[in-house]
C-alpha cells in the first residue's frame, strides 16, 4: 500500500512534465438497508485517475488506481469459518474484510504515428471501444451490454494493442495478451465503423482453447434525432458448450426526459437453460436534481440484481458541491424492500 502511494506520487511528479496532465478521482460511500434481512450494509470505493500526454497528442499514458472495500455487514460472519478474510469486492478480487484493496486497475502508455492513423498501446490496457452498453445506469441498472461472460472485451490486463484508423469513422485493433503457450486466446480483434448521423457498427472476436469463436457484434442506428437503437449478437462458451445471445438497447431523449429499454435472449444448447432478461428506465434531469424510475425482469439469467426475478425501483440524485447524493427505494421479489443511499465526492 505504501509502495503504491510512493509510485502514485512519483507518477504525478513525472506526469507534471507533460503538457497536458489530468488528475481526477472520487470517493463513494454507500449504505443499504434491507427490510427482509433487517440488516444494513456498507461499502466504499475510491477511484484515482491520472492521464498525461504531450502538447501534440502524439504520446502519453493513462492509469487508474482504485480501492473497493468488501461489503461490511455489522455482526454478520460472511465466511463459513467466521474469519471474514476471503470475501471479494464488486470486481471479484479478493479483499481483506472491510478494508479498501487499493490496486492498479489499468496503467498503459501509448504513442500515435502518421497523423493518428496508427496507435500503439502497451501495458495494463483499458480497451472498451468496441462494445455497446445500456447507458443510463445506477448501482443496479445498466447490466446489459455487448460483453460476453468471457469478459474479454473489457481488457484490463498486460497486453499490447495496435490500432489502425485508415479513414474517418473506421478503426481496427489487434490486441496481443502474452501467455505461456500461444493459443487462440492470445489475440483479440476489434473493428468499429461509423457513418455520421446514421450508423455505428462494432465487433470484437477471439477464440478459446477449445477452438470456439467468442465474439460480439452490434449495430447502432442513430439516423433519427435523439434516438439510439442497438441490436447485436454475442457468441460465448458457458464452460462446456458454445452459447449464443441476441440483445437490443433502445434509448430516446426528449428534452429533460430520457427513456431506455434493453433486452437479451440467451440460447443455450439445453433449451431449459435458455432465458431472457429485460430492463428499462425513465430519467428526468434538470440542473438541481435527477429522478429515475426503473424496472427489470429476469427469466433464467443471472444479470438481475441479487437473484430477483423482478425488481422495480426509483431514486433521486442531488448534486452536492463537487459530488452527488443519491437515495433510492427498490423492491425485488426475493430481496423485498431495500433502501440504498450513497454519497460521492470528487477530489
Amino acid at each position: 500500500m505504501k509502495k503504491l502511494f510512493v509510485l502514485l506520487l512519483a507518477l504525478i511528479v513525472a506526469a507534471s512534465a507533460f503538457a497536458q496532465l489530468t488528475v481526477a478521482g472520487y470517493d463513494k460511500a454507500k449504505a443499504t438497508f434491507n427490510s427482509d434481512s433487517k440488516e444494513g450494509a456498507y461499502s466504499d470505493e475510491i477511484r484515482f485517475n491520472l492521464t498525461a500526454k504531450d502538447a501534440d497528442g502524439k504520446y502519453g499514458f493513462s492509469g487508474r488506481f482504485q480501492g473497493t472495500s468488501g461489503t461490511y455487514t455489522p455482526g454478520v460472519d460472511i465466511d463459513a469459518d467466521g474469519t471474514n478474510d476471503d470475501i471479494v469486492n464488486e470486481d471479484g478480487d479478493a479483499v481483506v474484510f472491510a478494508k479498501n484493496d487499493f490496486v492498479v486497475k489499468y496503467m498503459y502508455g501509448w504513442a500515435s504515428f502518421f497523423d493518428g492513423m496508427l496507435k500503439l498501446s502497451a501495458g495494463r490496457i483499458n480497451e472498451g471501444g468496441y462494445q455497446f452498453g445500456a447507458n443510463e445506469a445506477n448501482s443496479i441498472q445498466g447490466n446489459l451490454d455487448s460483453e460476453t461472460d468471457a469478459d474479454f472485451v473489457d481488457i484490463r490486463t498486460q497486453s499490447m494493442e495496435l490500432t489502425v484508423a485508415p479513414m474517418a469513422g473506421l478503426s481496427a485493433s489487434v490486441i496481443y495478451t502474452p501467455n505461456d503457450t500461444i493459443t487462440g486466446t492470445d489475440l483479440k480483434y476489434g473493428v468499429a465503423y461509423s457513418v455520421e448521423n446514421l450508423l455505428n457498427v462494432k465487433a470484437m472476436m477471439t477464440g478459446n482453447a477449445a477452438g470456439d469463436i467468442l465474439g460480439t457484434f452490434g449495430a447502432e442506428f442513430v439516423g433519427v434525432e435523439n434516438l439510439s437503437a442497438v441490436a447485436g449478437l454475442k457468441l460465448d462458451n458457458d464452460g462446456t458448450d458454445p452459447v449464443m445471445a441476441v440483445y437490443s438497447i433502445v434509448g430516446y431523449t426528449m428534452d429533460a426526459l430520457f427513456f431506455e429499454v434493453a433486452g437479451q435472449y440467451l440460447f443455450e444448447t439445453d433449451l431449459v437453460e435458455s432465458g431472457y432478461y429485460f430492463e428499462g428506465n425513465a430519467e428526468y434531469t434538470v440542473e438541481t436534481y435527477s429522478v429515475r424510475a426503473f424496472g427489470q425482469y429476469n427469466d433464467k439469467m443471472d444479470l438481475a440484481e441479487a437473484g430477483n426475478e423482478y425488481l422495480i425501483g426509483a431514486e433521486l440524485s442531488i448534486p452536492v458541491g463537487s459530488g452527488e447524493f443519491n437515495a433510492g427505494f427498490n423492491y425485488g421479489d426475493a430481496t423485498k424492500v431495500s433502501v440504498p443511499v450513497y454519497l460521492k465526492i470528487a477530489f
Partner: protein, 179 residues
C-alpha cells in the same frame, strides 16, 4: 402572321418553363452563427462526471494542480434547403485556450474517468450534441451543435472567436467577439 397566333401559347410555355427551372424563391442562403452557450442550453445533460459542458470541479486536486475550464459555444445553422457543412477549425484569439474537435473533446473527458457508466453516458451526450468532426449533411430547417475551447481556470475575456466552415464546398468564416 400564322406564327403570331401561337405567340401567347409560346409566351405561357416560356413562363412556365422559367418558373420550373428557377431557384426556389424561399431558398435564400444557409446561415451559420455562433453564440456563447448559456447554462440553460445544457441543463438537461446532468452534472458532475456526466455533463460534458460543465467543467470538472474537484475538492482537493484542483487546488494543487490547477483545473481546466471550458468556453462552450453554440453553432446555430439555418438551412433553407439540403446542405453540407463541415467545421474546419476554430481559434479563440488567446494563447492556451484551444478549440477541441469532437474526438479531442471526448478524449479530454475520458481522462477524468469516473464511473464506467458515467463514461458511456458522457460519450453518448457528446456524440449527440457536439459538432461532428466530418462533413454533416443537413436537411431544410434549423439545427445546432456545441463546440468547446479548453484552457486553464479561470478563463478571462475578451475572446475573439473565429470558426472556419466549409458550406456546400465554399469556405465561410464566422466570428464572435465576447467580452
Amino acid at each position: 402572321m400564322r406564327a403570331l397566333r401561337f405567340l401567347p401559347f409560346l409566351l405561357c410555355l416560356a413562363l412556365v418553363a422559367s418558373c420550373a427551372s428557377a431557384p426556389s424563391a424561399a431558398g435564400g442562403e444557409l446561415s451559420v452563427s455562433l453564440r456563447r452557450a448559456a447554462s440553460s442550453d445544457f441543463k438537461n445533460y446532468g452534472w458532475g462526471f456526466s455533463n460534458p459542458y460543465i467543467p470538472f470541479k474537484g475538492l482537493i486536486l484542483d487546488k494543487l494542480l490547477g483545473r481546466a475550464d471550458l468556453l462552450v459555444l453554440v453553432v446555430e445553422i439555418e438551412a433553407p434547403a439540403k446542405a453540407e457543412i463541415q467545421l474546419l477549425g476554430a481559434q479563440s484569439g488567446q494563447a492556451g485556450l484551444d478549440y477541441y474537435d469532437r474526438t479531442a473533446f471526448t478524449e479530454f473527458w475520458d481522462a477524468f474517468d469516473g464511473y464506467d457508466q458515467d463514461i458511456k453516458l458522457r460519450r453518448t451526450r457528446i456524440a449527440r450534441s457536439y459538432f461532428p468532426p466530418v462533413p454533416v449533411k443537413l436537411g431544410k430547417g434549423s439545427s445546432s451543435y456545441f463546440i468547446a475551447f479548453v484552457g486553464k481556470y479561470p478563463l478571462k475575456g475578451p475572446f475573439d472567436i473565429r470558426a472556419d466552415f466549409l458550406v456546400n464546398g465554399e469556405r465561410r468564416e464566422v466570428e464572435l467577439h465576447l467580452d
